[in-house]
Symmetry: C2
């Protein structure tokens, strides 16, 4: 499929299709392809789904932490919270002890929404797990965490 040359010789650009950015991007695309029909059917974006799931798992938190955990930038989150509030899936309030912070939480409607979508989502993930195989999936999970750790510039 691809020439079996070394990934990178240190002097020239690597084959674009074999670089980490594209491999990670296309792998992610292959995974998301399976979830998209479900999310679309429930009129929610992938990013919004991440946000409300994080809220369900960890409860109310400020916007910065939510953005960090859901892998979403602050400006995007600001826009999304407005949309999710309009649908009454989340609620936000000012932190009383720190007026700069905005605390976001899941509403009862939000919890119900997740409960509605969760079974299908879990089924899709189980199908992916079955296709990929437990061994490969486990190794990938560990290696991806290791990759992040190796690249994290501990400031």
């Amino acid at each position: 499929m691809v020439a079996p040359e070394s990934i990178h010789d240190g002097f020239e650009l690597a084959n674009t299709r074999r670089t980490l950015p594209i491999l990670l991007l296309s792998a992610r695309e292959a995974v998301m392809e399976h979830f998209r029909p479900l999310l679309h059917a429930h009129d929610i974006t992938e990013q919004q789904w991440r946000v409300i799931r994080v809220l369900q798992e960890r409860g109310e938190m400020d916007a910065s932490r939510l953005a960090d955990l859901a892998c979403i930038l602050a400006p995007s989150l600001t826009r999304m919270i407005k949309a999710l509030e309009a649908r009454k899936l989340v609620a936000s309030r000012r932190d009383e002890t720190d007026g700069r912070r905005s605390l976001i939480s899941l509403t009862e409607k939000g919890r119900t929404f997740i409960a509605t979508v969760a079974p299908s989502s879990a089924r899709i993930y189980a199908d992916i797990e079955a296709r990929v195989g437990t061994e490969l999936l486990q190794r990938l999970t560990d290696d991806l965490v290791a990759l992040r750790t190796a690249l994290d510039d501990e400031l």
Copy 2:
């Protein structure tokens, strides 16, 4: 860092932070973080950089194939080609034998541009390779390809 429970039990949602979509997203983010200053300094986006690199590696091709290889959707590519043409980094022309197709190619200026940025880019990739380690990088590369293959619905 994360509770050492099984990835997924088949009945409930997995821990969001341990799911493939987020792992792949955050790993990619960790990698791109290192390239962003360079790309920004040359006033080019990550996606545009992918597009012109694919053109350099494989030469003139039609838009569909280019979009596929660079992992970019057709509507995005249409917009990008306009921008890249305005900067005279790429050129496009109609396919003479199939009037529907648009053939995209790198200009001389485009080649020069890549030659200018390539050394820094290669240095950054080499640094990443050094941090991550050859073994982990090689295994990840293979596993990510395997993941894509496993999930590809061969239509």
